[in-house]
């Protein structure tokens, strides 16, 4: 299965992945209109420290601790993609407790959000398309 992979050697810490993620999630056509004056809450997050930076988003683990831990069944696997059914999430955050990558976060309404690879909305991950330096790639690796 194709996944998003991160190579910190090329990450500039520019955070465009975060903005492209938020833009994709907005489902709007123009980024300026979608994000102007908005404090974004993306599903991919840059970690940066001392000149090192890299983006972290859901790894879509084959043995996902978050899915196994989910108390409602809101987190499930569809064709290898770990998907959150927001309507069924009650915001207990057991998944946040479980994810070893810190890749699950809270959305504005208190339920969880995570990277679902944009496959349903945009075909392929917007963060990868928006990365200016190929630090993020979307490819098959085993």
């Amino acid at each position: 299965m194709k996944r998003v992979y991160v190579n910190e050697n090329w990450c500039l810490g520019c955070r465009l992945c975060e903005y492209h993620c938020a833009f994709a999630e907005s489902r709007q056509k123009d980024m300026a209109r979608a994000l102007r004056g908005v404090k974004i809450n993306p599903a991919i997050r840059i970690e940066a420290n001392n000149g090192i930076s890299f983006a972290v988003s859901c790894r879509h683990c084959k043995q996902p601790l978050c899915v196994k831990a989910c108390i409602t069944g809101a987190l499930h696997i569809t064709n290898g993609i770990i998907t959150a059914d927001k309507a069924r999430c009650v915001g207990c955050y057991t998944c946040i407790l479980s994810c070893p990558f810190g890749a699950i976060s809270q959305n504005e309404t208190g339920v969880i959000q995570k990277c679902e690879l944009c496959t349903a909305s945009h075909g392929s991950p917007a963060c990868v398309k928006g990365c200016p330096n190929n630090a993020l790639v979307y490819e098959e690796r085993e």
């Binding site: 790894r59 069944g73 070893p100 690796r141």
Partner: protein, 406 residues
């Protein structure tokens, strides 16, 4: 292969998914003593808050049993014949098994207070039926007394505070959530819950009940209309008495095997080794239940699998204030008690446990340090104390986690 699973909650579902990931042919029979599609027990407080509907409490989709080719029988198992490899049900049915999983869960452990029988409106808060019964008894002006300020008692309080006139929680210990929080953290959470209209009486021992009145050992009395006892849970181990080794819970190894041949156990009815302390204990938690169940399922289907990462852990929110904690609270302590509350417990180069209140972001990174027994000397522990982050790991480790160079 004939698989029989006694239970229909997280551990049982985990077992079904574990079996079906490798064995599509064997027959699976689930025995449920509740007449419901598999549902998530922790959601009963959300049901009372109307944050979920009963339908939305289903732990798996409606198609689950058909898709996984399972037979679901609504009955109670009354006896296991380990020699003949049969399970006897209360409806008289006998189920032969090749491999058996007991995922019988736990029930409310009600302290036998004197005079409890005199209380008309007394409830526990474990299952859907409990929640429905309690809901029916609540009236806008009624006074509710909850005995026990553990997770169940407090989730119950949160669930009903808007449905009742008043809610008072009585706790014998000197703090709330004594199994989950330290004293300082407990105070913070208590203050928050109190601000939402719940009253507490701590270090308060109940001597006896008289109909709508509770008498405390210090002489105080509490009037109430509805009583909820949430004084703990006990594992349902009776079926395996005399068949398998039982301590407090059914003893299982890392393969979820009991001491009896072809009998596995998983979930709240078991006890196993907590890797954060090395002690064998009951960890009645949904994530552990699922993973033990899945591990049992895989082993029952012949795949040698070990689940060695059971630790106590909790994620809970009360009126919007979130708590995540895991592991064992021993060793040296890193404290950050600013706006958000954080405590990390570590010793011998390992993280033993942690408590986060408020900001729970990326808590799983701490959990993974406990589960993986990661040597703290191999990471930037100062950084990880301040912010749980992958940055704290070495470049090689980060590349392994995130992909890095091909």
């Amino acid at each position: 292969m004939e698989y029989v699973i006694i239970g229909n909650s997280a551990a049982a579902i985990g077992a079904v998914e574990g079996i079906r990931s490798v064995d599509k042919k064997g027959t699976i029979t689930l025995v449920s003593n509740e007449p419901y599609h598999t549902y998530s027990r922790p959601l009963i407080s959300y049901l009372l808050q109307e944050k979920v509907t009963e339908d939305a409490m289903k732990y798996r989709p409606d198609t689950f049993y058909t898709e996984n080719a399972c037979r679901l029988i609504f009955a109670s198992a009354v006896q296991i014949d380990a020699k003949k490899k049969r399970v006897l049900l209360d409806n008289g049915q006998e189920l032969p098994y090749g491999k058996l999983l007991t995922a019988t869960g736990s029930s409310a452990s009600v302290v036998p207070f004197a005079g409890l029988q005199s209380v008309k409106n007394a409830f526990t808060f474990m299952g859907l039926d409990d929640a429905k019964a309690l809901r029916a008894a609540l009236k806008p002006d009624c006074r509710v007394l909850i005995v026990g300020a553990g997770l169940i008692g407090l989730k119950c309080a949160e669930g009903i505070v808007k449905l009742a006139g008043s809610v008072t929680v009585v706790e014998v210990a000197d703090r709330i959530l004594s199994a989950v929080l330290d004293g300082e953290g407990a105070k913070k959470v208590q203050a928050h819950i109190e601000s939402k209209g719940v009253s507490f009486m701590l270090s308060a021992k109940i001597e006896r009940f008289e109909e709508t009145r509770a008498f405390l050992s210090d002489g105080r009395q509490i009037e109430f209309d509805v009583l909820v006892t949430a004084t703990g849970v006990k594992p349902n181990v009776d079926l395996l008495k005399g068949i398998a080794r039982i301590n407090k819970g059914i003893l299982i190894n890392e393969k979820s095997q009991t001491s009896a041949t072809d009998i596995y156990a998983a979930g709240d009815c078991t006890e196993c080794v907590d890797v954060s302390s090395g002690e064998s204990k009951i960890m009645a938690l949904l994530p552990n239940a699922y993973m033990q169940g899945e591990c049992a399922g895989l082993n029952m289907a012949g795949v040698d699998t070990a689940f060695t990462q059971a630790i106590p852990m909790n994620a809970a929110g009360f009126f919007g204030l979130h708590i995540i904690s895991a592991g064992t609270y021993c060793g040296e302590v890193y404290t950050c008690a600013e706006k958000d509350y954080k405590k990390l417990f570590y010793s011998r180069d390992k993280l033993n446990g942690y408590i986060l209140i408020g900001n729970v972001e990326k808590a799983g990174i701490y959990t993974s340090l406990i589960r993986g027994a990661t040597p703290l000397s191999s990471i930037d522990f100062n950084l990880v104390c301040r912010h749980p982050s992958l940055m704290a790991f070495t470049k090689t480790e980060r590349a392994a986690k995130l992909g890095g160079e091909k």
